[in-house]
Symmetry: C2
């Protein structure tokens, strides 16, 4: 009925019970490379069901050189943006009957490499890499081992692996235009500490869009609510809070909202904020964030398609402006 702990059911057990060879059982189990007579097939299926047979994927993997497992390296899954992305990636893989091995790289290139090596040793079929602003092309390690890889959110400069990312340039332009339409002349930008990767692209796009404003302020802080909260308090204390601000990430925007609120400079009355991530959570901050929404689910699915379609072109996803309250608009 069920397999006992001490003696798992093997192909041979099923074969014995069905009175056939292991080859036939294998052919039945996976509509094998050779046909099996209908009557025999029935017997095998019955025997397998009665014994509660479960194929041993490890043995299968050893022989067929494919594990059905994909490695996912993510910078930090406890950041809601990456967490949501990771979740969609897992879902897209599950749809294709693949298992997901995850590892958090902690924003460190060293750990990224370490994880890729461990995943490679575990014989993953492919790798998905979600790097915060990594510069290191870990995909080449995978390629050297013949394992396809894809970057999501961000790819290293000059890498050969495909990249699925949001159209940061367009998103920033829309955000700047919207804040300008609200009458703001000086639009500040809150970037990350290092300014590489997509955040760098966003900063560059902002820089280009406000090229006519010599007083445009560039701010920096860590990608955490706590850091952005502290930064906002510091700016408030110095009387340097900008009127209009574009933040690189939702986490930073949320932190700014919270810090500004605490200092009696609440959005949207005293500061207009637009965030460039657009995670689902951004709809439920106080006030709700106006964002350029990245199509996280679509990006995840495209990445997986790329991985299994063996295509190697990169994709850019449009991130539409979603108007809520933090920019100063009235929600309907």
């Amino acid at each position: 009925m069920t397999n006992r702990a001490d003696k798992p059911i093997t192909l041979a057990d099923v074969a014995r019970r069905a009175g056939t060879s292991t080859a036939v059982v294998s052919y039945v189990i996976n509509n094998g490379p050779r046909p099996v007579a209908a009557a025999t097939r029935e017997r095998v299926l019955a025997a397998a069901a009665e014994l509660g047979y479960r194929p041993n994927r490890i043995a299968r993997a050893l022989r067929s050189r494919t594990t059905g497992v994909v490695g996912l390296v993510v910078a930090d899954a406890s950041n809601p943006y990456f967490g949501a992305l990771a979740r969609h990636i897992e879902q897209a893989l599950d749809k294709r009957d693949r298992l997901t091995l995850v590892g958090n790289a902690d924003y460190s290139a060293d750990r990224e490499r370490h994880l890729v090596d461990r995943f490679l040793a575990a014989q993953v079929d492919a790798l998905v890499i979600v790097s915060a602003d990594g510069e290191d092309d870990v995909a080449t390690r995978a390629e050297a081992a013949g394992v396809p890889a894809v970057y999501v959110h961000n790819g290293p400069p000059g890498g050969r692996a495909p990249v699925v990312a949001a159209d940061n340039q367009n998103a920033v332009q829309e955000a700047v235009a919207h804040l300008r339409a609200h009458g703001h002349r000086h639009i500040a930008f809150l970037s990350g500490p290092h300014d590489t990767g997509p955040v760098g692209a966003r900063r560059a796009a902002w820089h280009a869009a406000v090229a006519d404003d010599p007083d445009a302020v560039l701010l920096r802080c860590d990608y955490s609510r706590a850091a952005a909260d502290a930064l906002a308090r510091r700016l408030a204390a110095q009387g340097a809070m900008p009127q209009a601000l574009i933040t690189a990430t939702d986490e930073q925007a949320t932190g700014v909202l919270s810090g500004a609120w605490a200092c009696d400079l609440p959005a949207p009355d005293r500061i207009a904020v637009i965030s460039l991530d657009g995670t689902p959570e951004s709809a439920h901050t106080a006030p709700p964030l106006t964002v350029t929404r990245q199509p996280l689910q679509a990006m995840a699915e495209q990445a997986i398609d790329l991985l299994f379609g063996h295509a190697s072109c990169s994709l850019v996803a449009h991130a539409p402006l979603v108007i809520r309250r933090s920019c100063g608009c009235d929600e309907a």
Copy 2:
């Protein structure tokens, strides 16, 4: 130097180059069950390094019946509470040199079972289950296959697998006492839709704590910001917004804050809120949430200790009250 894509290096390759048998190489690689002469060991190590040998974990797993992989079933990793928990679990496993296979169960018992079965087929060494309010004892499936399992956050009633959970009873008592100290006589509770699992325990504890108040209001909504936001707006429209509210989760609290803000009934002036999760994010809402903070990282580590220590006792973690602004207190 490095292994070419078309021909990965095997034990036999190393043995050939070092002029020994595969057995000796194996003994060297894992300080095998038998000793090896120092000179030979050197030769083997050198050969392995030169060829860039990486042991094939799949082959090793087949033979040794242990994969070094642990399955993690989580209700929904895009919920920051579960996401943070999942992340700490992955970290604790990484510390012990284990890989983590994740799957999102989408709050569904069916998918939970499905994932457990797939993980079992992949020969995981152990299972960690983070179920929202699952009633189903999926650990018994694992046990039947001889795979140890542990529940974190929530365990099924009457299950045999160990459970690591927060001390909900005490947390709720502290929250109620604190709101009472603020002078609130009626303290409402926002529960989940079904009220099983830990949320049920929290609701029961609240019920006991406000037994002397016949007018205590019990509210329910989904565990999402959006649902709580909508609920708050509905209550505001009906003029039924409570003065003091304890929410089962941070997500719900955040939604209430946002909905109340939108209806001009902002916390903490018009509504005092305490949340029972206490994720790191709760410190950066507007206003910052007063919470009972669950020691997520400690819980994750204890769970993993339990798993590898083969202990099977359950643990209860104290969740201290962290006073911030949403309850009406002034932050220092």
